[in-house]
């Protein structure tokens, strides 16, 4: 009687095995890439803002200092968003297109806060202190990118934990000088321990 498997069967078997293996590898590779791709982290995606504010004009063409509007960055945890009064203070004189500033005007009149959409919001369990980073020598652009070139503000970095650790593992080699006794590396059992990678440094 005829054998139950023709010679072709072996070829098919091998084909199936090889394709399955390739698919598995492909899936893992795709997952790996996806997790690290900028789009996954909303890099370069602008958020809906109450008014079409352009950093390119203010920080770029006019050359305003970041601290002019984000005045808390140098001393506080949050960088602070400008009060409506600050915006209108200038814009009553220059470029006072009232229609455009209606949302801010409304907020100011109501004594309420202007609701900007955050582009760099970190998860609830993360503590980020602007002043500490500026004091250590980190520039605004390190995390926020070249905002002075951005007509619509977008995220420049993934802000993933791994990305933070790139600096925190060894700030000194990047020319940064973290302040505070607790920030100096120390050796235990012959192994140098970078203190800025401890959980409580960044986590609530």
């Amino acid at each position: 009687m005829a054998p139950i498997f023709t010679p072709r069967a072996d070829a098919r078997l091998r084909l199936v095995l090889v394709v399955a293996a390739l698919l598995a590898v492909l899936a893992l590779a795709l997952g790996y890439a996806w997790a690290r791709s900028g789009s996954t982290w909303a890099v370069g995606k602008p958020a809906e803002q109450p008014i079409p504010f352009s950093h390119a004009i203010h920080a770029g063409q006019l050359g305003l200092d970041c601290g002019f509007c984000h005045s808390d960055a140098a001393r506080g945890a949050g960088a602070g968003m400008p009060a409506g009064e600050l915006c209108l203070g200038c814009h009553q004189r220059v470029w006072n297109v009232t229609a455009q500033f209606a949302p801010i005007q409304a907020a100011v009149d109501a004594g309420l806060a202007t609701q900007w959409a955050s582009v760099h919001r970190l998860p609830d369990h993360v503590r980020f202190h602007h002043a500490a980073h500026l004091a250590a020598g980190v520039t605004c652009a390190t995390c926020h990118g070249a905002v002075e070139t951005m007509p619509r503000t977008v995220r420049a970095e993934t802000l993933s934990m791994g990305w933070c650790l790139d600096c925190h593992r060894d700030p000194q080699t990047r020319g940064l000088t973290p302040v505070g006794l607790g920030a100096q590396p120390y050796v235990h059992a012959g192994i140098e321990v970078p203190p800025l990678t401890r959980c409580t440094v960044c986590h609530k």
Binding site: F5, P7, R8, A9, R14, T197
Partner: protein, 201 residues
């Protein structure tokens, strides 16, 4: 690159698989003899070796160590491959553990030193055993040339009983000494129940 790809495709789709024992139609697929028990088969194998046949296979429904020895088959490589793979896996696992928890991200866990070697051992050990077992199976398959779903001998008359209660000796047509007549003559000389030509498949 192109060449590699071509080679791969050839390996995938080559048909029929080119292997020492394989014959291409329309030639006959060798000569086969059927035996009643293991002893007869073992004798036949010894005789075949004595007469200088080189490309032949003996089939049995259960292990026949004597016959295997008579054919000069060595099983040791299986064990060695498995052991080697296991040891390598064990070392690799420990190395990875150590690198990740000492070099890559040292953490103060319960006041232990980063390189707390005793607690790194169990996982490494288990991994070693796992890989060794896998290697044993793969080594066996590889040395046996399996998986191989199709084989000419399956076409032989009554060969289905080879997996139950019959013993067979098959001489490949590629054997330099092989001629249908010569093979049949030799096989009939053994205590075979029946000798037949394997039809091409």
């Amino acid at each position: 690159m192109k060449r590699i790809l071509g080679a791969a495709l050839y390996w995938l789709f080559r048909h029929p698989p080119s292997s020492a024992e394989v014959v291409l139609p329309p030639r006959g697929a060798g000569t086969i003899a059927e035996f009643r028990d293991a002893d007869a088969l073992t004798e036949a194998v010894r005789a075949a070796r004595a007469e200088g046949w080189t490309l032949f296979e003996a089939y049995a429904p259960h292990p026949v160590p004597d016959a295997a020895e008579a054919m000069g088959i060595r099983a040791a490589p299986v064990g060695w491959l498995a052991a080697g793979a296991g040891a390598a896996a064990m070392a690799g696992a420990y190395g990875l553990t150590m690198y990740l928890s000492v070099v890559d991200y040292p953490v103060n866990v319960g006041g232990r030193p980063p390189h707390a070697w005793p607690v790194f051992l169990p996982a490494a050990y288990i991994l070693g055993v796992l890989v060794a077992a896998l290697a044993a199976l793969l080594a066996m398959l590889w040395l046996n040339g399996l998986p191989r779903l199709h084989h000419p001998v399956f076409a032989a008359r009554g060969f289905l009983r080879a997996s139950e209660d019959r013993f067979f000796l098959w001489i490949s047509p590629d054997d330099p000494m092989h001629t249908p007549e010569g093979a049949q003559r030799f096989l009939r000389a053994q205590a075979s129940l029946r000798v037949s030509e394997v039809p091409p498949s």
